[in-house]
Symmetry: C2
């Protein structure tokens, strides 16, 4: 009926697709919802102006700053969800493991995890005591946002890889040596990081987050056999132990083409897919019960709009062929050098697309 | 019949498997051949002693040094093939593009490829004039080796990515912007790099190399649609234009699970597979006509032998299920920190394995 009104957080297109309601017969026709991983920060000039010279962990620890950074892309792009401005190492840093985020590098730790003695450095997270600023940020945002807020955590494997390697890795050689060479110690490490993820996600939802995403960014480096043996049970426990909160649970990693069925086996509600696997093919691997999220190549957003637009339409068409529903996103995070104007136009194109569930506009 | 004699280069297990003869009914029973990508250099103490402080391009330009580095792993490990000690940027550096290999970083260029004016920096390769040291190294080796020598080149996409990005990249954003934004310029760049690869491979074979490998190491970052449109025709031309030389042609890249059928469409004889896809599953994607090469995770070679051995046996079992034949290798290059003793033991295990074509030892 003319213009599209902004949905309330409790009844948004984003949440309906995540919950599988978009594919229910007789459900209201929705537009395809869209948000961008890493939409908050990096590429936005208003972010760089606000952030100043401190570290990312400094900015995250200031609720007014973190809330504003979270809001900036929602205002600018008109996306259908906000994602909390935070970092996957926040919980492990908060319990005193000794980890920082080095500008231009990523998570680093001076004393990597290497033996059972290091387990003592990973005590349980008490969110209200250890990360009160995260929960305060969530509470500020819930009062300001008219779209759902996504909370998030790092999956135990990806966090473990940073702790064991000491810095971002291209090979994960120490991590693999630990999991294979000392499997009992590996599983104890994973158990503690799983507990951290659960505690963090639960606290974010209890403070008002309407969905959660679990980032296992680097798990695609593992063979399927290693994934099933060393990672899958822990990830599955994260999703199981936040299941009673009744918010959609999104899972994501890159290079996961070979693992999609196993990732789906951890029982999230939505599966993020990188740009290497067309969404309809990804859908065949994960089955019709889960929604897909993705998967425009973020590197393509640096190309001219005439290149980007047909790729956006291709992703929409592939997503529409998946019966479980589609949340439009990139296939990985926004690159820092991305022109925000390109993301604005992507949102326009996605929102102008008729929803797959729509009966030719007769949706009153 | 007791001990296994070392095959002559012209009739080696390695070449027979590459040529598909191992799967011919009535062919002689072979052991599974094995060599390691990056076996020459890096992890060997005798290499570090010989190499000294110069750059890798300096060492490659000294035929006696390069030949010795090539021979070192053959002596130490007893592998079934040698691979020339060289680098994929040697031809493009030799025509004067202005590219170097920075220690600890990889290929770098101060002035990246960015416009049609840069095409003038890529003239055709005249191997005897531009890279005489490479050919001299090959000739020395052919006189010394009792196993086949593998020559190699960088595939046009991977070389292009270094020229366009200026350094190793995690996103290939400039490369993708160029291919999508200026497809004519992209194809002209690829055409010239294809010509370079063809000229280099032909000259290495004419000097005595008995097989060639084309490394498209980073092509797995592309979607299948991009691969088919921007890369596949060029790679196919490389293999077509060395086809008359009658040496096995091996292809390899990492993260290629989604692309294996398309890579096979470029018509190599052997498909290298990284560790993410079990060899029998890779075989289903590429079809029974090609041999597979791989695919032990090189990071696992840093684990204790009790961890490595069952993984070697798993790879052997998966390779044996592929009807096209199996060349044992790692799923990517040897990591610098690898203990050479582990690689020695891997060769022992592979060579002790009965060949899939063997009729229970009755192979006289």
């Amino acid at each position: 009926m003319g213009g599209v009104s902004i949905p309330s957080p409790a009844d948004s297109a984003f949440l309906r697709v995540c919950r599988g309601e978009a594919r229910t017969a007789g459900s209201p026709a929705d537009r395809v919802p869209v948000w961008f991983m890493r939409q908050a920060g990096r590429s936005l000039p208003e972010y760089r102006a606000l952030r100043g010279d401190g570290t990312i962990l400094d900015a995250i620890a200031k609720p007014d700053v973190a809330a504003e950074i979270t809001l900036q892309p929602v205002r600018r792009y008109g996306v259908d969800a906000a994602i909390l401005y935070s970092d996957i190492v926040v919980p492990i840093a908060a319990v005193g493991f000794g980890v920082d985020v080095a500008p231009g590098t990523g998570p680093v730790t001076e004393h990597p995890f290497s033996s059972s003695a290091d387990l003592a450095r990973i005590r349980p997270l008490e969110p209200e005591l250890d990360t009160p600023y995260v929960l305060e940020t969530v509470r500020i945002l819930v009062g300001e946002l008219d779209v759902p807020l996504i909370g998030f955590a790092g999956a135990p494997f990806t966090v473990a890889s940073y702790l064991v390697e000491g810095r971002p890795s291209r090979t994960y050689a120490r991590t693999k040596a630990l999991m294979h060479g000392e499997p009992e110690l590996w599983h104890e490490l994973m158990t503690r990081l799983t507990d951290l993820a659960i505690a963090s996600l639960r606290s974010q939802v209890e403070a008002g987050a309407a969905a959660v995403q679990l980032f296992d960014s680097w798990v695609g480096d593992l063979s399927a056999a290693d994934y099933r043996r060393f990672v899958q049970p822990h990830t599955a426990r994260v999703f199981a132990e936040v299941g009673d909160l009744d918010v959609p649970r999104i899972h994501f990693g890159v290079h996961t083409g070979e693992l999609l069925a196993d990732l789906a086996g951890t029982s999230p509600d939505v599966m993020g897919v990188d740009w290497r696997v067309p969404l309809d093919i990804a859908g065949e691997r994960i089955g019709p019960a889960l929604a897909v999220q993705g998967n425009l190549d973020p590197a393509l957003c640096l190309a001219p709009w005439t290149v980007v637009e047909p790729e956006v339409r291709r992703v929409l068409a592939e997503g529409a062929r998946h019966p479980g529903g589609h949340v439009f996103n990139l296939g990985h995070g926004v690159l820092p050098e991305t022109d925000p104007a390109i993301l604005e136009r992507i949102v326009e194109v996605v929102h102008a697309e008729p929803s797959p569930g729509s009966a030719g506009g007769d949706a009153s």
